[in-house]
């Protein structure tokens, strides 16, 4: 897009802005060093390019102005115009005008008025430069040591008026090369002494040039005349000046030199030892009085003319160094390139994506391990993944560093400001800059300029006292304003310090009370820092009058806004009479934030780790209320506590007793947020919401997890503001609804349930609907697929297979066994006696069953030639009812058979060795059949009782010990409620009926038809007795069948309730460490949901006897 000046607008702006800055800084340098040719050349060059580029883009008037400036500068270069305050001021005015124009251009306005006034001023100056005429001034080499002792009578700023007797446009300039050469000479012959000599002839001396030549000739016999001004050629061609400066190397002493030089008509001879500065590289760290020309320099700059500095620096020293710096600076300049910050942002984005994708790798790795177990190949993968992670993190840090810009560029602007301000206020101020190399993110750098200006203004206007007053107080006449930037922990600190009169605490407090910011009573409890913070209030000012510079109470507000925008802090320290310091601190890395993830229902939120102090769990009882706010007591400290779900608009969960709390730091206080659950730590790459939307209160931004889930990153101050505001959604209006789990994120303690309670927000409802639709689609496509298949091969087996498959899907059994069942159905031989009984089995009408979603597989029933004897006796108990019950029964039976078949094979495979030692095949079979009967019975009864569809697994007979059993059983590390029933009579032993904790509770609740909530892990007495009853019934079923078959008498005892983990419960039942025979079967409800398990632990010997009795 072309700017208002055409396509080169942007280029022009870039260049000219730089040039103006350079001009400004160079001119300041020149003020302190009037004869530095290099600086003058730089200025000239810059003005010249400015002239041409302005002309190029059509700003002709600007070009004219530059041209006029050039003229002046040219004269300075030649030496015909002397650098003095007036000239410098004039030039500064010029620069300001030009800068103004440039700024207008960047705002889109083309300024094209002739700068006639300015030009007139320049012309006039040219014609009538200042009083002191150069021609007659004494020439002196600009190489001096004594210069430093001089003090100006003017303001503190670096003015060298013509009244000073030092600097002189005709002075001898010693360049860097000269220094080098001199050094070489001296090192070659250490006996050589170096002098600077100035000889003045009487005003009316004839043939001055000749005389000077004579003097030089004399001296040459004793040493080397290194450099002279005027040069020898000039002298010979008729020099008419009265002074001669030169540098002289000789072994002779001063007196001898005097002698040699003292010829007729010589008025004065000055001979001084010249101390060569050390070669510039060593001196870089020393404090200099010159301001550096380039931005990346480190130096202390004083606008005053060296008066205060006890560190003596010679002009030569400075010149040499500046030159060197100029050279090295130009080298530095070449090493850097300008990069558009858009490109950087793009790059940052890409690297952010990289980090996110990498975390996805980690997850895949974990999944692989879970699925396939450990493998060397996976280890290799992990190594590489970790490597990539490291590299991309480095890349990210590197790129972030690119955005980091040294703060020196901002600091350097202030020297000019301080100079102007001190002129205005008639105060003497030194500006000290430290830590210019400290780097901050570019965004911050851009924004920090203005607030710093305000702070400096305040310091000078209000802080620093008038020179006489300072003297009265015993302070130095020159006040010091110090700007310092350094790194403090993970923050960058920028400090503005002055040695003025400090903040008047009392006055501030008074004003604050007057403005209604605080009451008198409250004020007594305020710390110093708190009182000082009042100055940030809008419109706050203790100034008695408003000046041009400050006093309106606006500046501090600007500062405060900046601090808040970049999440920084400001600390104020002040002592009356001594000084004040403002320390701004900014967090360093604005992009990667390690954070703690929490989950609220299914929404994931992140707390920035830097704000988090700790995480704890509290009980409901620990929360108390104080003046309407909730608080807790944390190790003696009282903290306010907020409910995060209130702030983000989620309904209250009433079932939690133990609440996780995240404790955060806020403005040197601590407070807590109650969350639903903690997930863990996460490195978040923050994406701003404002990019495509807007900034939302309470959130800093959002980030994306490896699996694509969006996490919202919280902003603590925002949250607190929200919490105290009144326009939060009334959470009591929100309702819960049980919805499907759609997120894949799990906290450490979530159970794997399919549904959970979520607040009925439009979004949640939307997501749920979407989920439903999608799963319907999925099953629909599967069903269609199968239907297509079935049309192709209508064999009985095919039909059976296909129908059975469908059936399973609809009931959502994902067990692999079920797929195997298909294969097995064809090939499996049941070991039990088969009979082709009527397959129509149904349960009693007492059964209250849930509707099965499946279609009936009527056809598959006759296919069950493999019905065994098991069912015959059932038949007798059961009468046929309607279709539904039949379906139900067939489901259970089918499930049972298929699993049994498989398990038998599996069981016999694994454990055959052991068990078969003890029991022979025959016995085993008998045992199994009995157990099957018993278990079947139990399952049926159970399903009747709980009113749900119950699946059971084939009983697993094994000879094992406790640990082995624990291993074999799934979910053995879950908690169980157990009912132990002893068997007495002809067979002794235990029957253990264990309910999984969660489902046990649910089952009990449902049966009790009570709305009573179970509190935590304990069951109410009623629940316990209900579970006891169930166990009783189930176990009796087993025992009965057993005793029937074996024609023995076995009696169950009263059930005993035990609770704990699987191992604990088992311990109680079979504390011995020996191996025992066990048979167990698991009951599942609705797929994978473990309901409970039944463990048959008989006395082994008796069991054998019993078996024998079975026909």
């Amino acid at each position: 897009m072309a700017g208002i000046l055409g396509e080169y607008t942007e280029l022009f702006l870039e260049e000219s802005e730089d040039q103006i800055e350079e001009l400004n800084s160079n001119l300041l340098l020149l003020e302190n060093d009037h004869h530095n040719q290099d600086i003058i050349n730089d200025i000239f060059r810059a003005a010249h390019s400015l002239k041409s580029s302005a002309a190029f883009v059509g700003l002709y008037h600007l070009s004219d102005l530059s041209h006029k400036m050039e003229n002046l500068l040219q004269k300075i270069r030649e030496g015909t115009l002397e650098v003095n305050t007036r000239l410098v001021n004039l030039l500064f005015k010029c620069f300001d005008l030009i800068k103004n124009s440039i700024n207008k251009v960047s705002d889109g306005i083309k300024v094209d008025e002739p700068y006639s006034d300015m030009i007139a001023l320049l012309d006039e100056y040219e014609k009538n430069p200042d009083v002191s005429d150069n021609k007659a001034t004494k020439n002196k080499p600009s190489v001096k040591e004594s210069n430093s002792k001089e003090k100006s009578d003017n303001n503190s700023t670096s003015q060298k008026s013509g009244t000073k007797n030092k600097t002189n446009p005709d002075a001898l300039v010693i360049s860097l090369e000269d220094v080098h050469e001199l050094h070489q000479e001296i090192t070659a012959d250490p006996n050589l002494n170096l002098y600077k000599i100035r000889i003045i002839l009487k005003a009316d001396t004839p043939m001055k040039g000749l005389r000077f030549t004579l003097i030089l000739q004399n001296l040459k016999t004793n040493g080397i005349v290194f450099k002279s001004k005027p040069t020898e050629d000039e002298l010979e061609s008729g020099y008419t000046g009265t002074s001669l400066y030169f540098v002289f190397l000789t072994k002779k002493r001063e007196a001898e030199i005097h002698e040699s030089a003292n010829i007729d008509m010589v008025e004065t001879i000055h001979v001084n030892r010249l101390k060569l500065p050390e070669l510039p590289n060593k001196k870089k760290e020393e404090v200099k009085e010159e301001k550096p020309t380039e931005k990346s320099q480190e130096s202390k700059t004083t606008p005053s003319s060296n008066a205060q500095n006890s560190l003596e620096t010679s002009k030569l020293h400075n010149v040499g160094e500046n030159e060197d710096k100029a050279i090295s600076d130009s080298r530095i300049v070449l090493k850097s390139i300008k990069v558009s910050s858009d490109k950087l942002d793009q790059l940052m984005n890409n690297v952010g994506e990289l980090v996110i994708t990498n975390s996805g790798f980690q997850k895949i790795y974990d999944d692989l391990i879970a699925l396939f177990g450990e493998d060397t190949l996976f280890n290799d993968l992990k190594l590489k993944v970790d490597q990539i992670n490291r590299i991309s993190k480095d890349l990210q840090t590197g790129i972030m560093n690119i955005r980091m810009v040294p703060i020196g560029s901002v600091f350097n602007r202030f020297t000019r400001l301080v100079r102007d301000l001190s002129l205005e206020t008639n105060k003497k101020v030194n500006l000290l800059l430290k830590g210019e190399n400290t780097e901050l993110d570019k965004k911050v750098i851009d924004a920090i300029g203005e607030p710093l200006i305000h702070l400096i203004r305040n310091s000078i206007d209000h802080g620093i006292e008038q020179p006489n007053e300072r003297i009265k107080r015993g302070k130095d006449e020159y006040g010091t304003v110090e700007l310092n930037a350094y790194q403090g922990g993970s923050n960058i600190m920028v400090e503005i310090r002055d040695d003025g009169k400090g903040l008047n605490r009392a006055k501030i407090l008074e004003k604050a009370i007057a403005n209604g910011l605080v009451t008198k009573e409250e004020s007594s409890s305020l710390s110093d820092n708190d009182v000082y913070q009042f100055i940030f209030a809008a419109g706050f000012s203790t100034a008695d009058k408003v000046t041009d510079i400050s006093g309106r109470g606006v500046g501090m507000n600007v500062v405060n806004k900046l601090i808040q925008e970049f999440k920084g802090k400001i600390i104020i320290n002040s002592q009356e009479g001594i000084g004040t310091s403002f320390t701004l601190s900014f967090p360093q890395a604005l992009a990667i934030i390690p954070s703690i993830l929490v989950i609220m229902e299914e929404e994931v939120y992140a707390f920035p780790l830097s704000e988090v102090s700790e995480t704890i769990k509290v009980n409901l009882e620990q929360i108390t209320t104080l003046e309407g706010h909730e608080i807790i007591n944390l190790r003696g400290e009282v903290l306010p506590i907020y409910r995060l779900n209130h702030i983000i608009g989620l309904a209250d969960r009433k079932d939690l007793t133990e609440l996780p709390v995240v404790i955060v730091n806020y403005k040197s206080r601590k407070l807590g947020f109650i969350v639903d659950d903690l997930i863990g730590k996460h490195e978040t790459v923050i994406k701003s919401l404002a990019k495509n939307y807007k900034n939302v209160p309470g959130l800093t931004g959002a980030t994306i997890m490896g699996d694509g889930t969006i996490i919202l990153v919280l902003d603590i101050p925002g949250l607190i503001e929200l919490a105290s505001s009144d326009d939060l959604v009334e959470t009591s209006d929100l309702k819960f609804k049980e919805m499907f789990r759609t997120s894949s994120v799990r906290s450490l303690e979530t159970s794997d349930s399919e549904k959970l309670l979520k607040t009925s927000h439009a979004t949640n409802l939307f997501n749920e609907k979407l989920f439903e639709m999608r799963s319907k689609d999925k099953s629909k496509t599967k069903r269609d697929r199968h239907r297509n298949e079935s049309q192709n091969g209508r064999t009985a087996a095919g039909a059976r297979r296909e129908l059975e498959k469908t059936n399973k899907e609809l009931i959502e059994k994902a067990e692999t066994r079920q797929q195997d069942f298909v294969a097995m159905e064809e090939t499996a031989q049941l070991k039990l006696e088969n009979s082709n009984s009527d397959s129509k089995i149904s349960l009693t009408s007492n059964v209250s069953l849930e509707e099965v979603k499946s279609e009936v597989i009527q056809e598959s029933q006759p296919a069950k030639e493999n019905q065994d004897e098991l069912y015959t006796h059932l038949e007798s108990k059961v009468s046929s009812e309607d279709e539904e019950h039949k379906r139900k029964a067939s489901e259970i039976i089918k499930g049972f058979i298929e699993q049994k078949n498989e398990r038998i094979k599996a069981v016999q495979g694994n454990q055959a060795s052991e068990v078969s030692e003890l029991l022979n095949q025959d016995q085993l079979r008998k045992l199994e059949s009995i157990m099957n009967t018993g278990m079947m019975n139990a399952a049926m009864v159970l399903s009747q009782l709980v009113g749900k569809e119950v699946e059971l697994f084939v009983p697993d007979i094994s000879l094992t010990d406790k640990e082995g059993l624990a291993r074999d059983i799934r979910y053995s590390d879950e908690k169980f409620f157990g009912m132990k029933i002893r068997m007495n009579g002809d067979l002794n032993g235990n029957l253990l009926m264990m309910f999984s904790e969660e489902n046990g509770k649910n089952v009990a609740k449902e049966l009790l038809r009570s709305k009573e909530e179970s509190n935590g892990n304990t069951l109410s007495d009623d629940s316990i007795s209900v579970l006891g009853e169930i166990s009783n019934i189930v176990c009796s079923g087993v025992i009965n069948s057993l005793s029937n078959k074996s024609k023995t008498e076995i009696l169950p005892s009263v059930p005993e309730f035990i609770t704990g983990s699987f191992i604990e419960v088992l311990d109680i039942v079979k504390p011995e460490r020996t191996k025992f025979l066990s048979m167990h079967t698991e009951f599942n409800q609705e797929g994978n949901n473990l309901l409970g398990l039944l463990l048959f632990l008989p006395d082994f010997d008796e069991l054998v006897k019993l078996i024998a009795k079975i026909k």
Binding site: N692, V696, P697, I710, L712, L765, K769, L770
Partner: protein, 163 residues
Amino acid sequence: MSAIDLREDNQENEEEYLAEEVEQFLTFLVNEEFFGLELLSVHEILKPVPVTRIPNVEEYVLGVINLRGEIIPIIDLKKRFDLEFTELKASSRFIVIMKDEKRFGIFVDEVKQVIKVPISQLNYTTDDLALSYGKLIESVSRVNEHLILNLGVNQMVDFLQIA
């Protein structure tokens, strides 16, 4: 809702309007009303995906979604027009709109087709339509007896209070 069948029309009038400029719009349904959107500003059309809720924003902002690494807001247009929330249907879609560098999505009932409307047939509305969202309508066109209200993207950005 019958589709807008323009094929015949276009062929008939092709000779007449061949030289005339047309503007393309994407038409979609919200609450059984036809709306149009300048095609150039339409970035993408997607099937609904799970939305992450943003707390403490206006009700009609359903939340944000992750679109290939970018987080963009989704707005329920029906709700914004002060009606109820949109019911998710099989035909529902998210239309991602791009303005300058910003992207945002709107949730609509059904996406119809892209139509070409000759500029002469576009009526720029000057009088206020008696609708809460009247300001949004940039122009109106009549195609095959359907009145299509064309929404202006600039107005949308303000109306939806994005940024």
